[in-house]
Amino acid sequence: MASLMERATSAPQTPGESPAACAPPRVKVVGVSKTFPTPDGGVARVIENVDLTLAEGEFLSIVGPSGCGKSTMLRLISGLTPVSEGRIVVAGREVTEPPPGVGFMFQRDTLLPWATVSENISIALELNGTPPAARPARIAELLKLLGLERYADYRPSAISGGMRQRAALGRLLAYGPELYLMDEPFGALDAMTKMILGRELLRIWSQDAKSVVFVTHDIEEAVGLSDRVIVMEGPPGRIKSEYRIDLPRPRDFRAVRLLPEFRDLCERIWGDIGRHSEAE
Amino acid sequence: QTKITAGTAAFNEALLPIYTAKEKGYFKDAGIELEITAFKGGGPAVQALVSGSIDMCLCAADHVVRLKARRQPAQILVALDEFHSYALMAKASFPGKDYADLKGKKIGITSPGSLTDNTLRYSLTKAGISPEREVQIVGTGGGVPMMAAIDSGQVDAGLLITTDVAAMLEKAGAYRVVIDYREMPYASFGALVLKSWVEKNPAAAKAFTGAVVKAIADLKADPKLAETVLATMYPNFSPSLIAAVAKTAVARTPAGGVVSPDSIKNLNEIVLVSDDTLKPVTVEEVFDPKLGAK
């Protein structure tokens, strides 16, 4: 973890501070396009000329209709999939392979089926250099946070969908990256669990001033968590509009929803997406 | 003690003098420790000989001809059998009795290129029958597989070695000999070594030969001895079969382990049929009678 910190390009910001334009950005996406071959032998443009900047310590959400390219954007930033055009710079270096200090939670849970919940989390601790002695305590702490204490020794096939998602979240938190890429991390959770974990995520983020790109379908979730919400449309995926969320920090994941500005923002974003989808 | 590793091409009763010498302790007396390794067929055994994995090959003597052609001159230390060892066997119901009757028939040999193959081709050719076109020659392996092939009618007749012949004839009225090669002088089995080995180990060569010659003399003198040794070699054989095998085995062993010119003459003829790149050998070339002399 310490080593990951060192690799960060800029000093941590004050918690909850709004992203400063002067700090070098954590992620810079410049004119990026992505094409995939189609089954009929053609080529499909899935991302078209996207520009995007994520400031150090910024919490950015991406919303948009199903299939518009949100997951693809995350994969491009993570370096797992190469861009077709344009370039992506993470922490000052152009992405050609997965850059250091990036944690990615996939849309599909990717727990290793042969490993128990705690073993799955442990792998992330191994990879970020946590000494073996410190691991059990950290795992226990995470499991408690996620309400999975009793399932430490279960394999993924013997726990529920929501529990699997929480375990995957636990792995991401265990890895403790500088940049979180989260693809619908709360999608399979009930409202209550989602709230608890949303609060937790905000707490972690504000403590360590990490940067987050958060994909979700839940607009209230996006507005409640983020500094900025990007609405994508597609395919081909483009950025349709952008909303700066200037709600006060620190926020409470639940209480913030009662603010009139919150309602207003949600309505505007909903309308934005709705127009598009309805038209389609 | 000199250690000699010998490879056998197949287990057969021509090994009787070797086992007798072992049993009687003649090798030990001569300062030789003999280790026998079994191979599947003469080919691998000869390869092992040339590669130096074994010092001696207890196998068909005709390999000396091929070894000469392959620039690996070899010699027969001691002959163990001076007659051809095969007979063409068939079920008792098989009507044929000479080569003409074999036309259009399926005949089993142990394996292509082997002594049985060569013998059959040689004698068919001599009888004016084309081994390629007028008969069908099939390799089935020796022993039990060949018997299985004859028994199930897969081949009409097949070449089997003396022991097997004796065993088959034990079953009265089941099989008969169609053509018998067992009276033909032929250097069929012997202890083969490379000449280079003899040069390097003259004492061991002499000691080994001496021990075997002594055993042969014992066998010739005492018919019961052959039965005792054979009973240890073939524990599953009945006493009557042992007796039958003992009688022929002793009779076939050449006195003094000497290679006769006749046996080499036939050997040259038969082996050369199969492979025109080979050159005949002379007795002098392949056998050194001095080694066996007292």
Partner: protein, 263 residues
């Protein structure tokens, strides 16, 4: 290790990648034949390994006089029949055993025991039961292949995604439907692995069968040459066998590419 499923355009007949591939293969060929040539002319007596030029000349000769075709067609035909039979019986029996796990458990040790018997020692029984004609050679190839398909079918079935089967069961699909539409496609990698392993074993079995009793076939040719210490003949036969094996494996590869969709 690259996990990229990126742009893979419809490939033309002679794409640069293909040219490179064949160049690589040619290079390996030239290098190994070269090494053989050098070794045969320096360290080792050609008595042991013959030499490439002698073998090439021999192959040329027996191609012209028809011997090569005569022998190899027999061997290939036996191997193919053994393969086909082994595939059908092994796969079918594997499905059956997967269906009746109790039977499978009970038979398991005996199947493994039979599989591990050295076929050469069984020669008399093969001759007795299957004669020395085509059948015994086919059965020899079959006796290897069937176990490979059986084992891989059973293992492959275990690895099929349970949820896919459950989904089909929830729609009351019959076991046969599930076998055809879910298990078979999910198992294709296992069947192709078995096929790849089996191609070699079928050829070995076919050659082994020719030692039981034959008057043609590459096995016979090699044995014949070996009996006369004709190393060039042996290597010519072995080279022909290698070429056949490569072609048969290539056929399996093509079939695989054709049947397995790019995932």
């Amino acid at each position: 290790m690259s996990a990229e499923t990126d742009v893979r355009p419809a490939r033309p007949f002679l794409s640069p990648a293909k040219v490179r591939l064949w160049f690589d293969r040619l290079l390996v060929f030239v290098l190994s034949v070269g090494a053989w040539y050098v070794v045969a002319n320096t360290i080792l007596d050609p008595f042991w390994i013959s030499s490439p030029e002698l073998v090439a000349e021999r192959l040329w000769r027996i191609t012209l006089n028809g011997d090569l075709w005569w022998h190899s067609s027999a061997t290939v035909w036996q191997a193919l029949l053994g393969l086909a039979l082994g595939l059908v019986v092994g796969f079918g029996f594997g499905l059956l055993l997967a269906r009746y796990p109790r039977l499978a458990e009970a038979l398991d040790p005996y199947i493994m025991g039979l599989y591990s018997l050295p076929r050469i020692a069984l020669a008399p029984l093969f001759i007795l039961w299957f004669g020395i004609g085509l059948l015994s050679k086919v059965m020899m190839a079959f006796s290897f292949v069937v176990f490979i398909f059986l084992l891989n079918t059973m293992q492959g079935l275990k690895e099929v995604d349970r949820d896919h089967i459950d989904l089909m069961r929830s729609m009351r699909a019959s076991p046969a439907f599930i076998a055809r539409r879910v298990q078979l496609p999910a198992m294709l990698p296992w069947l192709f692995a078995a096929a790849r392993i089996s191609v070699g074993l079928a050829l070995i079995g076919s050659v082994l069968g020719e030692l039981l009793g034959a008057n043609r076939g590459l096995g016979w040719y090699v044995e014949h040459a070996s009996g006369r210490l004709d190393t060039t003949g042996v290597f010519a036969g072995l080279t022909a066998l290698m070429i056949i094996a490569v072609l048969m494996n290539q056929a399996v590869n093509l079939l695989e590419r054709w049947l397995t969709p790019a995932k």
